[in-house]
Amino acid sequence: MHLGLLWGASLLVPASLRAEWSKEWRTELWYVLRECCSQTSDHPRSIRQATAFCVGAYRDSFCLRRRSWHEQRFLGGIVGSGSVCLLLLIGIFFWTWGIARMSPRVAAGSSRIQVYPWLASDKSTGPCDCAVDLITPGRSLQVTQFLFNGFSHYRITRQTVWAHDMPMTEWTVAQARSDFFAVLHLPVRFMERFPRVPNKLPQIVLSRDTWMRDFGGNPNIAEAELHVGSIDAIVVGVAFGSSMGLPGKANAWLLGSNAQAVTGNAEFVVGHLSSAGYFEDGRWALSVGAILLAFVMWLFTSRPSIGEYSSGSHKPSLARRGQFWAFLIGKISVLMAIAYYASVDLDCSFVQPFSKFSGYAQFASSFTLCFLGLLWAFRDQQRRCPICLRRMAHPVNVGQPSRTFLAWNGTELVCERGHTLLHIPETPTSWFGAQRWVCLDGSWQFLFAQETGTLSSL
């Protein structure tokens, strides 16, 4: 077991150092086991001690691995660069945006469709006739018609389905109005291949999953005949897009069916929001509001301070300072966009589309992502050279803690290209509260070898 632990840790060690590293740790383990077994007769305790020894090997191996990363100048140069940082953020933005564009769950969650359960307590009126009171209680018909483009209805049933080339199987069939897909602007593929000659048979639209599973994704599915319960229907197409997220998880949609409602079947009224209705609905505004709230919270809870310049050193030019602040603003802008699309992706991936909790989940994820992102962005900015925007490197402890009030005690970092020094006080005092930049003039350049990327000692 202990040798196994050491073997696992050795995988982290760079290949060139692995053999000697393994030899050292295996040898020491031999002595650890000999020492533990000789000191105590309690076998489990000696095993624990030896295990604790082996677990420390992971930290040692990770240190060696991290050192090898720093020694790779190319990688170190890339990771520290400001432009690469910005490009990485933009890449993450396009990734989250791409998921939002391509994911059917996201399409369902952010669509203009609103779904409402209908209890059918009043059978004298149809579901769409009472949609006004159901969906927008207390509002006039005119307002409802302004907010919605149209309404439709569907009922979930269980039916036995079979065809000449498909065995008998149980499906969840949604019995919907004939204009269901048109009203909701839902795409139906292969419908254009259906002949325009009116067919007396009821029309059925398959769900994408059912089409792939039971019909092998056959592109010539249109005009196929199915037996659905006691009636025959003709396939007119396959439903894609946000119809997959509608409650009920229907295998197929039977359009214009006149079958009687069965007590206990779930029924839903669906509405399609107009542009005004989508704006009024405010789902998108939840994310935007959460991001703005996170920005305000970050301003008040943290003390954003890039630092001050040492009184003895010259300050960077106006152009350089403008570049520094433009980099920060660019990072924050991209992070806010990432927070928005990432919250949409997370909300639609983990919360059922059309659920009443989706708005709250989106708000919470937007706020959290934006707040953490802002904290990181500012922290990252505090550690970047104001001249070249590279990460400051080589932290060195300067001074003595016992002389905090007589001298200066803190950490010093340096720009590898010799532009600036950064002094961070260990304990903020009244004369040295925030970090301080010291800009180096050209006379220091001979110390910084750009070819080797290392500091030469004084």
Partner: protein
């Protein structure tokens, strides 16, 4: 500008232990009370900062004592200087680790 290896309390303890004759990794752990995940990375950093050097003991010595050969550590001149500095900075280190302990 000060050296790159940070003279922390743990670093001072390890330097003192090596100077006291505890030259093997496990014996340094036993003397300082520090875990292996602290001692070995610190010794890597000190070796990189040229405060200590490592060597493998001869196979013949290990064979004579019927045990595997071990890697041992020694202070360099820079290490001795750093040890003196650390004793001024951390006066208690000399009391925690005896100046002349049992040789491993």
């Amino acid at each position: 500008m000060s050296g790159e290896t940070r003279l922390t309390h743990n670093t001072a303890l390890i330097l003192q232990a090596i100077d006291s004759g505890f030259v093997y990794g496990f014996s340094i752990m036993e003397m300082t009370g520090l875990p292996s995940g602290t001692v070995y990375p610190a010794m890597r950093r000190m070796e990189e900062g040229q405060l200590i050097r490592s060597r493998w003991e001869r196979q013949a010595i290990a064979d004579r004592e019927q045990r595997p050969p071990r890697k041992y550590y020694q202070l360099t001149n820079n290490g001795r200087t750093a040890l003196e500095t650390s004793r001024k900075r951390y006066p208690l280190v000399g009391r925690l680790v005896p100046a002349s302990g049992a040789k491993s």
